[in-house]
């Protein structure tokens, strides 16, 4: 189980997409590709932008599909962060539906 502390990387206001990309490419994606489970720990993160969360997880959802959510735990999220994560997951999963539909044409 890998634990990634978002506050330590991005601070109380997680908005720097470059940091999100680095976490995704260097830690999150390799761990999930190895079949590991990952905890994204948002303890002490007061807010995050949609852009940050998108840069963190959208490509993971696209590459691994919705089932990858069974192997990612979002820990200690406050209400705001939870809702941003839900928005990004919802529009990605809806959008992936379109791509799958088009691939079946």
């Amino acid at each position: 189980m890998m634990n990634i502390d978002i506050f330590n990387r991005a601070g109380a206001f997680a908005e720097n997409k470059d940091i999100a990309r680095d976490i995704r490419i260097k830690e999150l994606l390799p761990a999930l590709t190895r079949g590991e489970e990952v905890t994204l720990n948002f303890n002490k993160v007061e807010a995050a932008t949609q852009s940050f969360i998108h840069a963190l997880i959208s490509d993971i959802l696209r590459k691994h599909g919705a089932d990858v959510l069974d192997r990612i735990a979002f820990k200690s999220c406050n209400v705001t962060v939870k809702k941003i994560i839900e928005i990004v997951v919802d529009y990605m999963l809806e959008g992936m539906g379109i791509e799958e539909d088009e691939n079946h044409d």
Binding site: G11, F13, E15, N16, K17, D18, R21, R24, E46, A47, T49, Q50, S51, H54, A55, S58, D59, R62, V79, T80, K83, I84, E86, I87, V88, D90, Y91, M92, E94, G95, M96, G97, I98, E99, D101, E102
Partner: protein, 322 residues
């Protein structure tokens, strides 16, 4: 180029100011002002900074300012960022900026932005919910400039707190490639206004036509910002190329409704403005009516997902029986 500072230019009445902007002769900037009073939205100062920084300071002429409020331009750092002396000796008493304003600031990189936000939030002395909203707006708007404008000068931002209305007004300007050029990388639009309409739509980005965007861009930032203004019944404006869109204030009696299509919101447009090479965004946030950010996100999430569903539905085809 010529720009005239009127006695009043805020988002509600900014249209005549924008129409009066004269973009010809890009090597020269002439600044004139109302003789009695200058009271302008921060977006006006961000515009002047963005214009002035791209030219040789020797090409900037600012007439002698007569208005009693002239010290405001000095305090906001206008002459400093333009690298010119004030047109005359302007006496003023300096107050601590804490809780009052953010002077004109140039931001060119992602790290500069992160540092700026970290320092800005304590300066404004805001409650936690309000700080989240303002930080969110600044981050998304400036990141748009850094990632899409392709301007060597970056973003110019300033903000002012108005105690009487308990409002923070924010202006961000760049002289980059503009929204139409950015959107045209993935979509085919012929006018600046069409480009603005698409840019405000959730899930539309100039980086790809793929639903969900790229790994770094979703095309949601401007929709979120417009929604924040809409929910709070505040003004929001965007000006790029020759086109201008303004979200008008929602009457207090009207029911909250976020629209994916910005043209379905209560708005005004103008597509014959003087050409602005780049993009300008202005927004007001009235603090005592700022909805709790998490409630705002419920409405945004619902509208966003519905917009994706609508696009999905539009791609289905029914059999044609003839």
């Amino acid at each position: 180029m010529r720009i005239h500072l009127p006695n009043s230019a805020f988002l509600g009445n900014i249209d005549p100011f924008l129409r009066a902007f004269e973009p010809s002769s890009p090597d020269v900037l002439e600044i004139t002002a109302n003789e009695k009073w200058i009271s302008v939205h921060p977006v006006v100062l961000s515009m002047i900074a963005a214009l002035g920084v791209s030219i040789d300071p020797r090409g900037i002429q600012c007439e002698k300012l007569e208005a009693r409020s002239k010290h405001y331009l000095v305090r906001m750092g206008l002459f400093k960022i333009l690298s010119i002396p004030p047109p005359q000796d302007i006496q003023m008493v300096e107050h601590e900026p804490a809780g009052r304003f953010i002077p004109i600031t140039q931001i060119r990189t992602s790290d500069e932005l992160t540092k700026f936000i970290t320092e800005m939030i304590p300066l404004l002395h805001l409650a936690q919910e309000q700080a989240k909203t303002i930080g969110y707006i600044v981050s998304e708007l400036v990141r748009n400039v850094i990632e899409h404008a392709h301007s060597m000068y970056g973003a110019f931002l300033c903000a002012q707190y108005y105690a009487k209305s308990n409002t923070i007004r924010i202006g961000i300007a760049d002289t980059g490639r503009g929204i139409k050029t950015t959107i045209n990388q993935a979509y085919s639009v012929t006018t600046d206004l069409e480009a603005i309409q698409l840019a405000l739509w959730p899930g539309i980005t100039g980086t790809t036509r793929r639903e969900g965007g790229t790994e770094q861009n979703a095309g949601a930032g401007l929709f979120f910002i417009k929604s924040i203004a809409g929910v709070n019944r505040d003004f929001f404006m965007i000006y790029s190329g020759g086109a201008f869109y303004k979200l008008l204030r929602r009457p207090s009696s009207s029911k909250l409704r976020l629209n994916a299509d910005p043209f379905k919101d209560r708005h005004s447009i103008d597509d014959e403005l003087p050409f602005w090479q780049g993009t300008i965004v202005g927004i007001d946030i009235t603090l005592d009516q700022t909805e709790e950010f998490s409630l705002l996100l419920d409405a945004i999430g619902k509208t966003y997902t519905n917009a994706v569903k609508e696009r999905k539905k539009a791609r289905y085809r029914r059999p044609r029986f003839i």
